[in-house]
């Protein structure tokens, strides 16, 4: 067996298989939600396909139960790594009562779960970056061993919130890792109209390390983010990791990407699909064979199918619940 790439990264066989499984789960959740959207059962869908390696690779670098996740709406695969189940994903998709993120209050893909250290997110872009900075400051203040990660697209770097978070993290050497999932588009706006210079190139200006990696390579994504997490944990401050990837589908089910990018471009990107690529690697190092691949795939598919059915059957919130939780101690009409 040829010298592998993962041992030096401290990744064991079980890790790799789990990572692979999460990537498949995410992909199948995505395909399922599009199917439900076509059937008119899911009015709004935010796709993840194409980002699985960047998300699973970066997410795997953090310690569950200890570290903190400040994700954005694209992060379905990351959320599975962080502890949400496909069923949770579908409960959110349908806006059901038991949706752990918001009890059906927010649009799908607005993640949150206190017990899983997933900080509730909103729609306004990049606001989570400052929450991450505040939480990281608090962890440092309390001398807690915890690293905070925040994820965003390259479009998110344009907002003042991102600038402020980078600046504050740099000044206070916070245990914070900025992960940019650069898929080259903010809805229809190409990176060239979004980012002067480059995302990773901005790190130096804030006095922190920056790196650019192949977001379609789950191992490289893991490697770069793990190094950043280790630095953060060692008290060496924040880092900015830019992972280049691509979004296979439209921005959301409300979008039509044919208005701004060519089929050729999309096909070319799909040819770099991170999942087959990782599978190929796992086969090359004899971690997976046909039988195992078939088995993992089958199980993932069934779980997604069952979870989405259960979620679909679940209850909607009671109308009157809409008045709850505006304040902890005030009733409102």
């Amino acid at each position: 067996m040829s010298k592998d790439l993962h041992t030096d990264l401290g990744l064991k066989e079980e890790d790799l298989i789990e990572m692979y499984r999460f990537m498949l789960l995410a992909r199948f959740c995505d395909e399922r939600q599009w199917g439900l959207n076509r059937q008119g059962k899911a009015p709004f869908v935010v796709p993840v396909s194409g980002h699985e390696a960047a998300q699973v690779g970066s997410g795997w670098a953090f310690e569950k139960g200890k570290d903190v996740f400040c994700p954005y709406y694209r992060d379905l695969a990351l959320m599975l790594v962080a502890g949400l189940t496909p069923k949770d994903v579908f409960l959110g998709l349908f806006g059901k009562k038991d949706d752990p993120s918001s009890g059906g209050r927010q649009m799908p893909a607005h993640w949150g779960s206190k017990e899983r250290n997933i900080i509730t997110g909103s729609s306004p872009i990049a606001t989570q970056c400052l929450h991450a900075a505040g939480i990281a400051y608090s962890k440092k203040y309390k001398k807690q061993d915890a690293v905070v990660g925040t994820w965003f697209g390259e479009g998110g770097t344009s907002e003042g919130d991102w600038h402020g978070a980078m600046n504050f993290a740099g000044i206070h050497k916070l245990p914070l890792v900025f992960v940019c999932e650069n898929n080259q588009y903010a809805i229809s706006v190409h990176e060239s109209k979004q980012v002067a210079g480059s995302v990773h190139g901005r790190a130096a200006g804030y006095g922190m390390p920056g790196a650019l990696g192949d977001g379609n390579d789950v191992l490289e994504s893991y490697k770069l983010v793990k190094e950043a997490v280790d630095r953060a944990r060692a008290g060496e401050g924040p880092s900015l990791i830019e992972l280049k990837t691509y979004r296979f589908y439209s921005h959301t089910s409300d979008d039509d990407d044919r208005t701004y990018r060519t089929k050729e471009e999309v096909d070319e990107a799909r040819a770099k699909d991170p999942i087959p690529r990782f599978e190929k690697y796992l086969r090359s190092v004899d971690i997976l064979d046909d039988k195992q691949v078939a088995e993992i795939t089958e199980n993932a598919k069934t779980q997604v199918a069952e979870d989405s059915k259960e979620a679909e059957a679940a209850d909607f919130p009671d109308p009157i619940d809409a008045a709850k939780h505006v304040y902890a101690d005030l009733e409102v009409e």
């Binding site: 909103s122 729609s123 306004p124 903010a186 229809s188 706006v189 701004y260 109308p319 809409a322 505006v326």
Partner: protein
């Protein structure tokens, strides 16, 4: 005359204005190749080029601030906020800069800019794609805030906004985009700001609203009419300047007033309307002023059961109208 819906009226008008005057430029997120997420600038980039149809970075502070600079240099920017809910990073530039530049420079500088913002609920947009923002901005001297609710007004008020020497926040209710159709004259015309429209005459009560709610109010009024109750229905169209005269005249006639708005009730536009009635028409009133507004919760949630709970609908408006009529 051509029949159009609200969004096509806005699209066509903006296109015509850009053809007329090359000082008019549009900027915002996805206004280029995408033609805007609601298709208002569909085809613009092919017609006018990328320099005049500016796909901006994802930063509303930038959009507002750059638009101010363009306007100061005598262009006529029409900035798009993709959703009204996302205007807030630009709040300081709009409220502290655009609104105050004429005043603080003693009239030396002006900011002839338009900010278009799709707003409002009933579109399964949940907390962050359903908000109403008019109250924040109508409170600010130096700004004009208008809310056309018909294709006819959409055209006339957009042209008025572009010609206006001062910053105008032009609000478009997302649900009216395709729902509301009407005849639109082919020639160019403007609709003056500060003039409400009495869409339905009546003597029994006055119902004041704007945007989507206005259409619900008309529908509710038609239902009452079947039972011989005649509500006068006023579409404010312009929040600032506000047509106090039209409101007082109608209330003077009917003696009963209700205000309907989907924004949060507390300190929403209905508060100002009710306050002005209580200041200037108190002795005309035969019944307390009725305010129907959104509950004091942060915009409507996503789940259909919850969204329905939040948004005033025709039934709820009808019930209140009947109660008020019977008072």
């Amino acid at each position: 005359m051509t029949e159009k819906n609200v969004v096509s009226a806005i699209h066509d008008t903006l296109m015509d204005e850009m053809k007329r005057d090359d000082r008019v430029v549009v900027l915002g997120e996805d206004v280029g190749a995408r033609g805007g997420v609601f298709r208002v600038t569909m085809g613009f980039v092919d017609e006018f080029g990328e320099e005049r149809v500016i796909d901006t970075p994802l930063d509303e502070c930038l959009i507002a601030g750059v638009a101010i600079g363009l306007a100061i240099d005598d262009l006529r920017p029409v900035a798009e906020m993709q959703f009204a809910d996302f205007i807030f990073p630009g709040f300081q530039q709009i409220v502290q800069e655009a609104a105050r530049i004429r005043y603080r420079s003693n009239g030396d500088f002006g900011v002839p800019m338009v900010i278009r913002a799709p707003y409002g609920g009933g579109v399964h947009g949940a907390l962050y794609h359903s908000q109403s923002i008019e109250a924040f901005f109508a409170h600010v001297p130096g700004l004009k805030v208008v809310v056309p609710s018909t294709p006819y007004d959409a055209k006339g008020m957009l042209i008025q906004a572009i010609e206006d020497p001062d910053p105008v926040l032009y609000l478009e209710h997302k649900k009216t985009y395709r729902l509301i159709k009407g005849e639109v004259p082919d020639e160019r015309y403007t609709v003056e700001f500060g003039k409400a429209a009495v869409r339905r005459e009546g003597n029994d009560l006055t119902c004041i609203s704007y945007g989507l709610m206005h259409h619900y109010c008309v529908e509710a009024a038609e239902r009452l009419a079947k039972d011989g109750i005649d509500a006068e229905v006023i579409d404010l169209r312009s929040i600032y300047p506000l047509d106090t005269e039209a409101i007082l005249e109608s209330v003077g006639k009917t003696g009963k007033a209700m205000v309907v708005y989907e924004d949060n009730k507390f300190l929403g536009v209905g508060a100002e309307v009710a306050a002005q009635i209580s200041e200037h028409a108190l002795f005309d009133l035969d019944a307390p002023v009725v305010r129907i507004g959104g509950a004091h919760v942060p915009a409507m949630p996503y789940a259909p059961t919850l969204e329905k709970w939040f948004l005033p609908d025709v039934d709820r408006i009808e019930q209140h109208m009947r109660k008020l009529a019977e008072f």
